[in-house]
């Protein structure tokens, strides 16, 4: 067990949100409230005066020398709190951690950068804040500058930098720390594709070639699958899974189960007309209703509806829209628009309940967040019901197409296509 470098035992962290107070000490608390406001949203639904919030609850795990641990979970799962405790920014409420080796953490890109100072000055300042000595920064100065690609602007105040330059410089300083254990929080979410690739390369180098231990938090499953050797999945402050990175990513995807992958209306709220109503709509990936689906597996959409009259001819149509705007596609079960003719699309419906299912092939969508609109049509021209933005779902990169290229794939779709290169004689 000598190669265990981080050992976390029964770690818990409690935040107290809001204080018990009497009415007569008002002014002090107006100020206090302003300070505490950021914490309040965590429990905005409950309205008690004093609440406890367990950001981490009895979490245990171990990390071995040279291991790259990906920590994943949804927002509010406790990832950032865990990193804050590991980097000693805040204390645990209970539990114990043993760490062998020097820890450096990068929880935010450009912490301590001062906008008025030049790039050169900020490199020294940021280095010192991250725990590097002046001599160390001096030794690596050229390397840091080269990596950041901002040579020309070294003597310009960083407030005049573009956000890309700012991020590059900040990551470069942090990347040249030489700790035995590196803790990184979601820094790859910034910067352009090329720089992200460079960052991933650098992190790989740190872990694989230099044998350092890395703890990495990201929502980008592609990056996680690519860099990490093992994974830790947190949900509501609890450890849900700890194992190989593949298993953990799968567990994360299925933890989206039923959370919001389904929209089910109550009887009185159903989108309805006098002849038909929609009962529910769901997104299915890997055989389960979920809001996070893998891009490399088929995705199914199901629409449950009820006919209120006899003898209707109805068609179901689905539109996929990208969350950031822009239509992706629309589809309907018209006989000529389907792979195989849907039996009910050529018949008239009796009264009853029906379920239409549409299948999107694997490797069609690019990763990203999408919305679906659902329509039921009376004929090929007449729309009976049209419901916008019924469900939001996330298509998640699982790293299947990332063996070579690690950056962002452009576009809303990312199909695997046929490729062939041949030589031909010059004319």
């Amino acid at each position: 067990m000598s190669d265990t470098v981080i050992k976390v035992e029964n770690l818990s962290k409690r935040y107290v949100i809001g204080q018990q107070r009497s009415k007569d000490d008002g002014f002090r608390h107006i100020i206090e409230d302003a300070v505490r406001a950021p914490l309040k949203w965590l429990s905005s639904r409950k309205k008690q005066e004093r609440e406890e919030f367990w950001a981490l609850n009895d979490v245990s795990f171990e990390v071995k020398q040279g291991e790259v641990l990906g920590i994943i979970g949804r927002n509010g799962a406790g990832k950032s709190t865990l990193l804050k405790i590991l980097s000693r920014i805040t204390e645990p409420t209970s539990g114990r951690i043993e760490i062998d080796g020097r820890v450096a953490s990068l929880l935010e890109v450009g912490t301590g950068f001062h906008p008025e100072l030049t790039g050169r000055e900020n490199i020294f300042l940021n280095g010192a804040i991250l725990g590097m000595s002046r001599a160390e920064v001096k030794r690596k100065f050229d390397e840091i500058v080269a990596f950041s690609e901002v040579e020309k602007f070294l003597d310009t105040p960083v407030k005049r930098y573009s956000s890309g330059m700012y991020v590059r410089l900040a990551f470069s300083v942090a990347a040249h720390l030489e700790p035995e254990i590196l803790i990184v929080d979601e820094v790859l979410a910034v910067g352009d594709a090329q720089f992200q690739k460079k960052c991933i390369g650098k992190m790989n180098e740190i872990s694989k070639n230099e044998g350092r231990t890395v703890l990495f938090v990201s929502h980008n499953m592609g990056a996680i699958a690519n860099i990490c050797s093992s994974g830790l999945l947190l949900q509501h402050g609890k450890r849900i899974h700890n194992g190989s990175v593949g298993q953990t990513v799968d567990a994360y995807l299925s933890s989206g189960t039923a959370a919001s992958g389904e929209k089910r209306w109550r009887n009185e709220d159903c989108p309805a007309t006098s002849c038909v109503r929609i009962l529910s709509v769901r997104v299915i990936g890997d055989g389960e209703t979920r809001s996070i689906v893998s891009i490399d597996r088929p995705i199914h959409f199901e629409v449950d509806f009820e006919t209120l009259l006899e003898g209707l001819s109805l068609y179901v149509s689905i539109h996929i829209v990208h969350l950031s705007g822009g239509d992706v596609l629309s589809t309907a079960n018209f006989p000529s628009a389907s792979l195989e003719t849907d039996a009910w699309s050529t018949k008239s419906f009796p009264r009853g309940r029906f379920r239409s299912r549409c299948t999107l092939p694997a490797n069609l969508l690019n990763d990203g967040a999408f919305l679906i609109n659902v329509a039921i049509m009376r004929s090929t021209r007449e729309t009976e019901i049209f419901v916008r933005e019924v469900i939001q779902f996330t298509a998640q990169d699982t790293g299947g197409m990332r063996r070579e290229y690690t950056g962002h794939w452009i576009g809303v779709v990312r199909p695997r296509l046929g490729w062939k290169t041949e030589s031909f004689a010059a004319a």
Partner: protein, 272 residues
């Protein structure tokens, strides 16, 4: 390889070692504050001379010319400036270190380092201003053809006392400010009020002997008296019991400041 254990209350043990490891951060933060302070100003560093100069003139006019306070044979402006030197150091340090943790909240919630570095580097920043003013005092002495006595060799001791007093109070206020922003309003008040209850514009000997000891509870009284004794000479006899009270007061302030700061420090990131 060093083993680090994180548990509630455990961070304590590595603290002083870490403080040493982060020693460069002290001066880098101070350097940053100095570098940034006069950016985009027209007059620049001259501000650190203009402010004490104007204060000196006003205090000389109010207490010397209008109030006709005794000056014990020293040019009144010199007397005032001697008192202002430690006072401005103390009040700047107070204002800057008091606000330092809140101003650096981005750092505190994202990076670990011994938090004491932050108020300490603010005191260092104020000390640089103190040195600039000291140069000005030398110029003033040459102007008045005033030769300081041999007592001047003891000046470093009183500078140290001023340092301890500033840091002690700075720690208290910085730590309190994290949770109670009320101190943002209280500090300017202390600074303004303190200028009049401390013997900056007059000699502390104008306070009647009956109340002298009580007056010395203000730790800055001992510091200012000490400065005058070192720079102005023997006629400004030090009131030794008063100095003793001031020294003890400063030590208590510093010790309790460190203890309180250390106690609240662990929750800074959660509260700030």
């Amino acid at each position: 390889m060093s083993r680090l254990i994180i548990e509630q209350g455990q961070i304590e043990r590595q603290y002083w070692r870490d403080l040493w490891r982060y020693r460069e951060l002290f001066y880098l933060l101070a350097w940053r504050d100095l570098l940034v302070r006069y950016k985009q100003t027209v007059v620049g560093v001259a501000w650190s001379l203009i402010r004490p100069l104007l204060t000196m003139i006003i205090l000389t006019v109010v207490f010397g010319t209008l109030g006709k306070m005794p000056s014990a044979g020293v040019p009144y402006p010199l007397l005032v400036f001697c008192g202002m030197l430690p006072w401005q150091f103390f009040s700047n340090a107070l204002a800057e270190s008091g606000n330092s943790l809140v101003a650096n909240s981005g750092l505190i919630s994202k990076v670990y380092f011994p938090r004491m570095v932050v108020p300490a580097s603010s005191v260092i920043t104020s000390f640089v201003d103190f040195l600039i003013s000291a140069v000005f005092l030398v110029a003033l002495m040459i102007w008045f053809r005033f030769c300081p006595p041999a007592n001047i060799v003891f000046l470093p001791l009183f500078v140290l006392l001023a340092f301890a007093a500033s840091f002690g109070v700075g720690l208290w206020i910085a730590a309190l400010m994290v949770e109670y922003r009320d101190f943002r309003f209280i500090v300017p008040f202390i600074v303004q009020f303190g200028l009049y209850i401390s013997p900056v514009g007059f000699l502390s000997s104008v306070v009647s002997d009956k109340y002298r000891l009580l007056y010395s509870l203000n730790p800055i009284v001992g510091v200012i008296d000490g400065f005058r004794w070192c720079l102005m000479g023997g006629e400004h006899l030090i009131y030794w019991p008063g100095l003793a009270v001031s020294v003890v007061g400063v030590i208590i302030l510093l010790a309790t400041g460190i203890v309180y700061f250390r106690k609240t420090e662990r929750t800074f990131a959660d509260v700030i």
